[in-house]
Amino acid sequence: MDRSALIDGLHPLEIKTLTAFGPGGGVLPTEQLAAATGLEPSQLSMAVEWLLAKQLLLVASETVTPLVSLTPLGETYFEGYAPVEYILSAARDASSTGKRLTIPDLHAKEGLDPSDVSKAVGRLKKEGALLIVQGGCLESTGRPSPSAEAMRALLRELHEGPREVGGFPEASRQLIQEHAVRRGSTKEPFRVEDRVARSYRLSPDGVAVAGQLAAQPTLEEVSQLSPELLKDGSWRTKRFRKYTISLRAPRIGTGKKHPYREFLDAVKAKLVSMGFQEMRGSLVETEFWNMDALFMPQFHPARDIHDVYFVKQPTHAARVAEPFLSRVTAAHENGGTTGSTGWGYTFNRERAKRLVLRSQGTAVSSRTLAANPSVPGKYFSIARCFRYDQVDATHATDFFQVEGIVLGEDINFRTLLGLLNLFAREVAQAKEVKFVPAYFPFTEPSVELHVRHPRLGWMELGGAGLFRSEVTLPLGVTAPVIAWGLGLDRMAMVALGIHDIRELFTDNLELIRTTRGLF
């Protein structure tokens, strides 16, 4: 690595540590290094680890010294008494008062650990400080116990602070070993740990770097610009450590729109820019506005119980507004005044009131037609619709339909084709189109719009037609009207890179967060 890049990347702690060695280098034990740098032990150990890893620092020597210290249990022994002390004093009390003291008594009292008790009793007996007489009773001999005394001396000394194990006489060292925390025996008063004492020296590279650092103007390095530095202008005397900016950025949670909604928003904006006014409708509709007003005969196969969701309660609307109900009835039965022969059946007005979940967006348009729309006028809706379909990768039971109407005295078959051309260009960025005859119950002539999408190739973009007079006249509209609908889900799915229509409404947050819309 380039040395100046290496120097630029040094942390302030590292610089402090390197420069502590002074111009001559030399060997510094940890304590001296700490004193020279003035760093906290944790900071120093970080800096040392980093410098060792960069091979700027080397370990000159290493000594390992076992240290003994009190555990929290040891501290409570110091405050009170160790088991051996307790047993000895209990035995002495018993002997002086003539009471009987048995080993189970010791267990019950103070809750001493049975193994501690038997160890201590054994040692006291061996030292001749204790006798076990008939009936398992303990009796004090009155003689002193060296081990109890040694224990007290250790507790007292270690309470002052850790000591090197090697500084104790052999008997104490044995006691320490016996009562030190180790695997399988954690409730002990002493802990023995190795203290590693190291001394360090600079590597040849380290010497060079340290020399270079000493030669440089000694700007203090900081990791972060702070309000204080800005306030007093002291940032001018600081050096800002360089970051490794090639690392991956940490992930953060974002606020953003749903990619499918973003797609629909784009379509919405496009339609508004083309002069379309938005319509809204109800999720629950009557069969009248959903189908009858669209001249779908009540015996039409798509009105079957297997195609539309019916509402359970209430089953029927309170009313269907007049004069629309009567005029639509006439249109179905005999054409009324629409110039049609009608379907020639008896229209069921009760059925017209049956409530359904809106099955087509055109229901929104039929309401608009009856609400005195502007002529000329352009309208659209992005309406949630429901179909009685088995849900699979290509069928949703709950989906958006983009549809609308165009009213105007200049509306005819050719302007219908012109409008579809516009949709092809503006919505699908398609230059090539094909108009294919189609069938919809409410339009005549009807046409399907096929376009060559820049990425998808030939696809059906939508359907349209001129509303039949049986639709418009009963609703009070005398101008010709285009009805149009766009099938955008396939385009949306390609733009979002998904293959299953159910994923448009996915519950997978990770997927929603990471899906990019390329529209």
Binding site: E278, V311, P437, R468, N508
Partner: protein, 571 residues
Amino acid sequence: MPTISIFKSDLESLLDADRKHRAISIEDLENWLMLVKGELKGHNPDTGELRVELQDSNRPDLWCCEGIARQIRIKRKGKLKPYPFLARKAKTPLRLIVAPGLEHVRPYVAACAARGYRVTEEGLAQLIQTQEKLADIFGHKRKTVSIGIYQLQKIRFPVTYELVKPDDARFTPLGMETVMTLSEILMVHPKGLEHGHILAGQNRLPILRDARNQPLSFPPIINSREIGEVRVGDDELFVEVTGTDLSMVVLTLNIFAANLADRGATIEPVEVQYPKSTAIGKRVVTPQDLGKPRTIKIDTIERALGQELSEKTVKQALETYGYDVSVGKGTVKAKLPPYRQDLLHAMDVVEDVAMSCGYGSFSPEMPAQFTVGSLSRIEQASDRARELMVGLGFQEIISNILGSPEQYRDAMRLAETEWGNMVEVDNVMSLSFSCLRQWMLPSLLRVEAASNRAFYPHRLFEAGDVAIPDAAHDLGSRTETVLGAVIAHAAAHFSEIHSCLDVLLYHVGKEYSLEPVQHPSFLEGRAGRILVAGKAVGVIGEVHPEVLERWQIAVPVVAFDVNLSQLTDLS
């Protein structure tokens, strides 16, 4: 509408009766199919099988190979050759007598005989398919129209169409080995079980029998196996159609007669004698052309198509589409061919002119009138709220509106409460899609429940429609736009979501206050009703741990739900 299966070679020979076979390319075929609103759905080059979807539900004549071929053939030849069996004064020795009483069961029947066409394998397949599609879709699962085809030489005329008691007639039905009474057929035969409901409540049932009292069939259920089974090689057929709508019955027979004639059969009409006069008389000879000519102004066609057209052009366009046309001054008098009955309005003729000319022959023209585009007030409010939520660091989601009572009510602890009322579906297919959401929180919890592996915190929102039951509303419910938001992470807290609501409502320009509410979905004492101008427009709170347990959500969730429609109306 129906998707049918036809064979390319069969279509080619019907297109070109002189057998000067010219293979038709798939590309050409697709273009020709535009003439019949057909779409090629599949093609098996090995067998020559084509799957074609026919869109027009008012053109049952096109739901078969013969019909498709006919429409294309007329276009190629320039005119439909009239069918001789439709000549006005057809004399026929074949009689079918209708007994009294059927007017309340299944009143109408039409029939004809076809001789001289030897049934081929492809022809038989078409005959059966046409019979099925017409009875099923055009005939509403046989309710309005059903069709039977028989071996003519086994029938002695006159045939009688009459009613019998269910146990007084018996025959061996198709698909069975033994003789059965009509009531046994209804109870046992698959077709009886499938279609028997059409005759529910009738104590006497329809039957067709010949002069020797031999049963032909039990309409609309099943044919006799003796007479009513047509096989490859048969060359004398008898076709009958029964039903509840006279013109549909006659039309269906006309289609069969035309189809068989196109395959080379000579059609012999049958005289049907009714006990009382029908709309077209007491003695009805079938097939019969029921179409009437209709006079249409050229101007009507021109205005609708946006193009000037001469009488001659219109005449030619309609004739090459099968119409019978005569020209008047500024008008044409047009009559549909006998196999069609779909002329309700002048516009139906307009479309046929356009299709016959080809949609490609009309140059598109931009609608020129100026209009101003705009979003609805509620959509503007919703878009604004969505922008603010995004700015507050929330991820938008979209959900189904249709869900289950378990999600929307029970898991929310709302059963038997005012908040638990929903619009429910009557004809439930799957419980998972059986009611409309009445608020937004369950939609958000649905995502939260599925996303415990996505890194936290989770901040989610959705703006969308809900349906709120309302007995005072004409439709029994109101559709309103609601904004819901949740925050979920280990330390999610009321004040965190409260701050978000506060910013949102500040920028929407609404003064609000919170009032404690006992809402079962939220922890008591940590839930509030959002009041704007004294009106409740939503709720906010810490989601009740029992709700989280029901959804198997393992972190605290805080949420609000604001009705944007109501909020927008308050100004």
